[in-house]
């Protein structure tokens, strides 16, 4: 059970949050112009890495904000949290 640092509220228990899967998957700008494969990739295909993972969480029982988390999926250690709209930090696998 993690301690997650909400970028707005500070360190809180994981149970106040909900995880929503991979981050930085932008919705295609003009969906009608892309192929079924590209659309399918956007909808369903995920990087699911063993190691550094960028993901989205919400502080449901708190400020209700969405934000990003960088976490190692092997150690489960949270490396960084940052607000929506901020650019993706480059973090190397250990």
């Amino acid at each position: 059970m993690f301690v997650i640092k909400c970028p707005y509220c500070g360190e809180r228990d994981q149970t106040e949050f909900v995880c929503h899967g991979e981050a930085h998957i932008a919705r295609p700008k003009v969906p009608s112009e892309i192929s079924d494969e590209e659309w399918g990739s956007y909808l369903f295909f995920r990087s699911n890495p063993k190691g550094i993972h960028y993901e989205r969480w919400t502080h449901d029982h708190g400020c209700r904000r969405w934000f990003n988390v960088v976490r190692d999926t092997v150690s489960d250690k949270i490396i960084k949290t940052y607000r929506m709209g901020q650019s993706k930090p480059e973090i190397e696998n250990e």
């Binding site: 059970m1 993690f2 994981q14 149970t15 909900v18 995880c19 929503h20 899967g21 991979e22 079924d36 494969e37 659309w39 399918g40 990739s41 909808l43 369903f44 295909f45 995920r46 990087s47 699911n48 890495p49 063993k50 993972h53 993901e55 976490r71 999926t73 092997v74 150690s75 489960d76």
Partner: protein, 413 residues
């Protein structure tokens, strides 16, 4: 040596000193016709059927740890085939049919115990759901009985029918039940080895060599091998292996946990599943209650989840069975399950020629083990998906032809 009561008695005279290895640990060869990556039930079973039904000779199963140590060794062992959609029903019922003869077929008792499974309905909506599924099972030739509250009460003593969410009825599949999970891996391994399959443990696949869009070899922790065909059956690690071959999957790997209570004398002789109260439970032959928890929403490869998932199981268990409150939780554990968007597996071809994949069984693939292995063996052998497997292609994620068991609200255990 054949396993039988006679041989057991015979061997007892020699203090069981003459039993042979159930499977051995051969050296890695430099070349195989088919390599199955992943020594879980599905992988070992695939190798077994490839050898037995298709006569493939030079097969190896590569397992990065010990066989059966993945989800095969850590699941709540629920077996059923009462799925909603025709495609799933066909696949899982194929498996149940094979389960029924599996101990004999493998000459290894996998203790498939058809003690019946009850899906509880707690609301009008639940009743509609079990009725829809029950009717679909009925017409697919899968046994299904819709029970009302009184019938449930008679069949399951000690269950609290009038809690916060009263039990209004249940869908019963009598042919459903449980099996001894470890025995499935061991039984397939022993039977496969008897047919000449090399079972290579502590052999992690670390790279996949592809040339001209076609697989040529594998890099493993024990060295390199040349291969003709590869079947990937790595459960929680399916994305990792797909990445090695240069493609990606519609999969997230998440923790799923379970627990056992201390052993007690028989008190619950069927399997109970409840979506609304969020619990599933059965009692093992050894006497523990085997209880399943929910999966975490975050990706992880650590074979452990958040403890609140376990906590969230305990109040529902006590709600449904107030008599279990004083019992003790003995051990909790986790597995990594690879979850697809529609909670149905992926079986079939991949973008790389001669690499085939069987994954995405998520929280519910143990029950499919023999069926999955059987249809996948044919798929690998023929290079084309078997008829039952065909709807479970990767392509469905582009076409939209999902087999959406998740949407239909039947939890997938």
């Amino acid at each position: 040596m054949k396993y039988s009561i006679l041989n057991l008695v015979r061997n007892s005279f020699s203090y069981h000193e003459n039993w042979q290895k159930a499977w051995s640990s051969p050296e890695l060869k430099s070349e195989y016709d088919v390599v199955i990556v992943g020594g879980g039930g599905h992988g070992l079973g695939t190798a077994y059927y490839l050898a037995k039904e298709f006569g493939v000779k030079n097969i190896a199963v590569f397992e990065k740890g010990w066989i059966g140590g993945g989800n095969t060794g850590r699941n709540t062992t629920i077996i059923r085939s009462n799925y909603l959609w025709d495609e799933s029903a066909a696949l899982y019922d194929h498996a149940v049919n094979l389960w029924e003869g599996l101990s004999s077929e493998l000459n290894f008792n996998v203790m498939f115990s058809q003690r019946g499974l009850f899906h509880l309905a707690h609301s009008v909506h639940d009743l509609q759901e079990i009725s829809r599924r029950g009717y679909s099972n009925f017409l697919n030739g899968i046994d299904a009985e819709l029970l009302n509250q009184d019938q449930v009460a008679k069949k399951i003593p000690y269950m609290n029918l009038n809690g916060r969410y009263p039990v209004l009825g249940a869908l019963l599949q009598r042919r459903a039940g449980t099996a001894r999970h470890d025995a499935v891996a061991w039984g397939y391994a022993r039977a496969a080895e008897n047919l000449g399959v090399d079972i290579i443990q502590n052999c992690e696949v670390k790279g996949i060599n592809v040339s001209n869009g076609k697989v040529t070899g594998l890099e493993t922790s024990k060295g390199s091998v040349n291969v003709n065909k590869v079947g990937l059956v790595p459960a929680g690690h399916s994305s990792v292996l797909a990445n090695m071959a240069g493609f990606s999957l519609p999969i997230n790997s998440v923790p799923l946990q379970a627990l056992v209570s201390e052993p007690i004398k028989p008190i619950l002789d069927c399997v109970i599943m409840s979506n609304a109260v969020h619990v599933y439970v059965s009692q093992s032959d050894k006497g523990e209650l085997v209880v399943g928890a929910g999966s975490d929403a975050y990706n992880s490869y650590s074979q452990r989840g958040s403890f609140d998932m376990i906590e969230h199981m305990m109040a529902p268990l006590v709600e449904l069975f107030p008599i279990f409150s004083r019992l003790k939780m003995l051990r909790t554990w986790g597995g990594i399950v690879d979850v697809t968007p529609d909670r149905s597996p992926i079986i079939g071809k991949t973008p790389v020629e001669n690499i085939f994949i069987n994954c995405g069984w998520g929280t519910g693939g143990f029950k499919a083990t023999p069926g999955s292995a059987h249809v996948f063996a044919e798929t690998v052998f023929k290079g084309e998906p078997n008829k039952i497997a065909a709807p479970f292609s990767i392509e469905r994620h582009y076409s939209g032809a999902l087999v959406d068991e998740a949407a239909a609200a039947a939890v997938a255990h």
